[in-house]
Structure formats: structure tokens, C-alpha cells
């Protein structure tokens, strides 16, 4: 059976998104870029001034929040503090007048899915941040929503836990086949989890594409600069960009450009160099097997690259 799903949001700033069924779709951008507002319009918390929201070919713009059948996960979790874990997760089913026995079964299954079995009678305040996040996830998923909306759901977790939850969320989304719209300002998170990403800036979508596309073929200067590190160049009046890992450090004799190492940031599996050459600073990333590269600040060094790796940006 196939189901088509077209999500379309046109905000005041003219955002149009087509999200496919079962897709992990991220809205990525700095704070204030309109990503959360876009998500809130999909959820129904905000009414678009112009434009419509469609789900599965059906216009839901005028459908109130509580009839949209969407799961929502907030950065602050927004759990009901006066209810236990079970009561939190059961809430959506209770609102749908699901029979008691079915509620018990589905809540238990949802809690098992997020590895929270045994925590049933705790209150949110008795759980860690990661556990609260899982409750929020179970609560949103148990109603089997058409779409799961996540507003920076991992933002409040520390780095280690965030990475673990990234894997878990992605895995869960794939297993359930749920369409997931994910808002984040963390580019690594978006690259790691998404099927497709919409990079937003000042209320506009700058580029939509798969993570490899967004990273490898940024279309605008903003996207190039926002995702990872990049060398922005100017060639024949056109803005161009070159990723640091596409630049090789070579002996000065074989170089297209020679200069001196300004700083060397050891990153573990790689070193990121700032090289002074040709009157500007170049970023170059050299991966290595964990050994500290021998180059130090002040060392003479040559830069080489392949012209095919240079991306031309829209001006």
C-alpha cells in the first residue's frame, strides 16, 4: 500500500516545503530564522497569514490543533508535572476515548519502545532529562500520529546523551515509518539524522536537499557558511566555496599556493589548520590516524586542491 503525503507550508515570508511520507525532514537554521514558527504553523499553534497547510492532500489549515492528529515534542518536554509517566503517555489515548484495556496495552508498548518499562509510576520530576525526553516521545508516538513534530527535542541534553538520543530517535522513526519534521539549529544533528534538510535564514528557505547535497553542494553563501567550515573565495566576480578537507597540505614546492601555518587545532581524528597564504586565511583539514601532525604554527606549508571541488554559489 502506498500513501502519499504532501506537506506544504507557505508562511508570510514565503516558505514552501514539500515533505514526503515517512521522511525525516529537518528545518535547520540560526535562531529567529522562522523554523520554529514554520513548525508551529504545521502543528496548528499559529495561523499562517497567507498560504495553506496540507497533509495527505487534505487542507488542514483551518483544522484546530486538537483535531490534527500530530505528535509534538518540545525542547522543554512539556510533560504534565501532576501526572505519572503512564498517565502522561495515556493522555492522548484518553482524549480519543480509546477503551481502557487498549490504552494499557498501547501505553506499555510505547514505554517499552523507548526503554522506560519500570518507570510507569514515577513523576516527571523524578526522571532525568533523557528519560523525560523519552516520555515526551512515547506520549507523542502512542497516538500513532500522521506526523511527528519535534522542536529542538534534544537541545536540553548534554552532548553524549544527545548523540545517543539521535541514534535512538532516527532508529525509532525508521522502524515506525512515521513522517518526522525536526527543528534544530545544530547542523551536525541535522546532517546526522535527516533524510532531507531545509536550511532556513531570515524566514526564507535557502536550500532543500539531502545532507550530502547540502554539505557538498551548498547553493548560497549562507548555507555554505552555516554548515561546517568553508573557505569562501571570489573568482571572476562569482562567490565560490571550498571545504577545508578538499585542501591538501603539501611541501611548498608542489603547491598551488604557499604560506605559513597560523594555528593548528587538534580535533582528535583530524587537525584543522589556519594557513596564511596569498593574503588571506585558508582553512584546511587534514585527517590522520590520531597522531599529532608534525606541523606547528609558523611552519611553511603548501596548499593544493582540485578545481572540481570548488562550488560556485549564487550571488
Amino acid at each position: 500500500m502506498s500513501k502519499t503525503f504532501d506537506g506544504k507550508v507557505v508562511a508570510v515570508d514565503g516558505v514552501t516545503l514539500d515533505i514526503a511520507a515517512g521522511e525525516f525532514f529537518s528545518l535547520l537554521g540560526p535562531s529567529g530564522c522562522g523554523k520554529t514558527t514554520s513548525l508551529r504553523m504545521i502543528a496548528g499553534f499559529e495561523m499562517p497569514d497567507a498560504g495553506r497547510v496540507h497533509v495527505g492532500g487534505q487542507d488542514i489549515t483551518d483544522v484546530p490543533v486538537h483535531r490534527r492528529d500530530m505528535g509534538m515534542v518540545f525542547q522543554s518536554y512539556a510533560l504534565f508535572p501532576h501526572r505519572t509517566v503512564v498517565q502522561n503517555v495515556a493522555f492522548g489515548l484518553r482524549m480519543r476515548d480509546v477503551p481502557r484495556a487498549d490504552i494499557d496495552r498501547r501505553v506499555a508498548a510505547a514505554l517499552a519502545q523507548v526503554a522506560l518499562t519500570g518507570m510507569e509510576d514515577r513523576r516527571p520530576s523524578q526522571l532525568s532529562g533523557g528519560q523525560q525526553q523519552r516520555v515526551a516521545l512515547a506520549r507523542a508516538l502512542v497516538i500513532e500520529p500522521r506526523v511527528l513534530l519535534c522542536d529542538e527535542p534534544l537541545g536540553a541534553l548534554d552532548r553524549k546523551l544527545r548523540q545517543q538520543m539521535q541514534f535512538e530517535l532516527k532508529e525509532l522513526q525508521r522502524r515506525l515509518g512515521v513522517t518526522l519534521v525536526f527543528v534544530t539549529h545544530d547542523q551536525e544533528e541535522a546532517l546526522a539524522m535527516s533524510d532531507r534538510i531545509a536550511v532556513m535564514n531570515r524566514g526564507r528557505v535557502e536550500q532543500v536537499g539531502a545532507p550530502t547535497e547540502i554539505y557538498g553542494r551548498p547553493r548560497t553563501r549562507f548555507v555554505a557558511d552555516f554548515i561546517g567550515e568553508i573557505n569562501l573565495l571570489e573568482e571572476a566576480g562569482k562567490p565560490r566555496a571550498l571545504r577545508p578537507e578538499k585542501i591538501q597540505l603539501v611541501p611548498p614546492a608542489q603547491a598551488r599556493l604557499s604560506g605559513t601555518v597560523e594555528t593548528a587545532n587538534f580535533l582528535g581524528g583530524a587537525t584543522l589548520y589556519r594557513v596564511q597564504a596569498g593574503g588571506r586565511i585558508w582553512l584546511a583539514r587534514e585527517t590522520h590516524a590520531g597522531e599529532r601532525s608534525p606541523r606547528s604554527p609558523g611552519d611553511p606549508v603548501g596548499l593544493a586542491w582540485n578545481d572540481a571541488d570548488i562550488v560556485t554559489l549564487e550571488s
Binding site: H66, M72, A78, P81, F91, M95, A140
Partner: protein, 271 residues
């Protein structure tokens, strides 16, 4: 290690802090202690030092139909005021915190204004308005007057809770399929309830202890306890007054404790 080596050095700041607290507590509690002494002292006039312990003034208080009628009337009025001010104050607080009303600051100040006005003026003004309106001085007029003064207390405590309320909790409930009415009853109300009830306790006490406003609005034979006590004191100054005060204090205290048992005001002490 010797015990002397472990002794903390004398801390003058801490000692001063403790002393200040003791003085403050004594200042707050001394009147109650004096009332207890007078209530138990059997001499026919309030006098010091006490000469013994007896319950005669309590007997007199409970045996007097004037006092008992006044006590029941006061309790009845205070109970009505509690309910009314909780409903009105709670609704006002919600409207002020959520309603996006124009002139919110002004409206908040307006609803709080009964707190700023001397109660004796409020009493006088209400007395004259009732007279002009030709409604006389019915009990419900008295209840309305007390409610007017009690609402700001409920408003205050409820606004404080709403101020710290994460609106996203309600949004989460809506997203899960709760209609606005269900969001209110399942989420909003249970979460603001402690604030509303804390205000309700204040409202009860404000009404039960209310004197200046009641003075203008009660009619003979149907007077609240503070007014009856005031009139009694004009002619007799015996231990019955102190006994009545003790009963008032204990009643107020038991209301607070009952509320605390019922809904747990502890969460609110931080307010």
C-alpha cells in the same frame, strides 16, 4: 584530635542574625501569648499578672447566644467569600495572564486596588452606595463587600503561579487531542489549583477577621464576630474577649491546616 580544636570560632554575624530572628518572632508571637494568658486568667477584668488557670471565659463565650450566632454568621460569610473570590479571582487572573487584554497593567492595578484603599473608606463607600441603591444591608451585600476585598489575594497568588506556568504544557495537551475545555480542566486547572486555593485561604481569613467594612454593613442582631466583639468590649473588658480571640485564631489555623492537608499548600510556601 581534641574537641577544642574542632570548636567553631564565635561568629558575630550569625549570632546577630539569630538574635534578630528571635526578636522578630517574639514580636509576632507575644500578642498571642498575652491573649492566651488573659483567656485563661479567671479574674473578672483583664489584669496582669494572672492569678490562676480556668476555662470560665471559654464557657461564657460558648454559652452566649450572641457570640455563637456571630461566630456562625462569620463562618458562613467567610465560606461564601472563599468560594466567590476563588472563582472571580481565578477567572480574573486567567484573563489577565492569558487574555491579551488591552490595558492589562491598568486592569491588574484596578483589581488590586481594594488592597490599597483603607478598608474603612471601602466600608463607608459601600454603605452609601447600598443606601442610594436602596438595597439596605442584606447578608449578601456583606458577602459581596468582603469578596471585593478578598479577590486581590486570590488574584495575586494565582497570577504568581501563572507567571511560572509553561504554556507549552497546554500546547502539548492540545496536540494530543484535548479540546480547549479539556485542556483547561485536565491541565490548566490542576496546575494552578494550589495558587488559587492559597489565595482562597487568605480570602477566608480576610473575611473572617474583617472589621472596618463589616462595621458599616451589618445590622443589629445579625453582626459578624469582630463587630460583636467590638461592641462587647465597649461595655465589658473581661476574659471572654480573649477567649473569643483564641477561638478565632484556632479556627483560622485549622482552616489553613485543613487546606494544607487537602491540597498541599506546601508547594506554595515559596510564594
Amino acid at each position: 584530635m581534641s574537641a577544642a580544636a574542632n570548636r567553631k570560632p564565635f561568629d558575630a554575624g550569625r549570632a546577630a542574625y539569630l538574635a534578630l530572628n528571635i526578636v522578630l518572632l517574639a514580636f509576632l508571637l507575644a500578642p498571642i501569648a498575652i491573649v492566651i494568658v488573659f483567656a485563661l486568667n479567671p479574674t473578672p477584668f483583664i489584669s496582669f499578672p494572672p492569678v490562676g488557670v480556668s476555662l470560665r471565659w471559654f464557657e461564657k463565650f460558648f454559652a452566649s447566644s450572641d457570640f455563637m450566632n456571630a461566630l456562625w454568621l462569620s463562618l458562613w460569610v467567610a465560606a461564601c467569600v472563599l468560594v466567590l473570590s476563588v472563582v472571580i479571582g481565578g477567572a480574573c487572573a486567567l484573563a489577565l495572564a492569558r487574555g491579551n487584554l488591552p490595558g492589562r497593567t491598568f486592569l491588574t492595578a484596578f483589581f488590586m486596588s481594594p488592597l490599597m484603599l483603607p478598608a474603612i473608606l471601602t466600608g463607608l463607600a459601600l454603605f452609601q452606595s447600598y443606601l442610594l441603591a436602596g438595597i439596605g444591608r442584606p447578608i449578601w451585600g456583606l458577602i459581596m463587600a468582603h469578596t471585593l476585598i478578598a479577590v486581590p489575594y486570590v488574584l495575586r497568588t494565582t497570577l504568581a503561579v501563572l507567571h511560572n506556568f509553561d504554556h507549552r504544557i497546554e500546547e502539548a495537551a492540545a496536540a494530543l487531542g484535548a479540546s480547549p475545555a479539556r485542556v483547561f480542566f485536565e491541565v490548566t486547572l490542576p496546575l494552578i489549583q494550589p495558587g488559587v486555593f492559597a489565595g482562597g485561604v487568605f480570602a477566608f481569613i480576610v473575611s473572617f477577621d474583617q472589621f472596618p467594612v463589616s462595621l458599616f454593613l451589618v445590622v443589629p442582631k445579625s453582626e459578624t464576630l469582630p463587630v460583636v466583639l467590638y461592641n462587647y468590649m465597649k461595655f465589658d473588658l473581661d476574659g471572654a474577649i480573649a477567649a473569643a480571640s483564641m477561638v478565632s485564631i484556632l479556627l483560622a489555623l485549622s482552616v489553613v491546616l485543613a487546606m494544607e492537608r487537602l491540597i498541599g499548600l506546601k508547594a506554595y510556601v515559596k510564594l
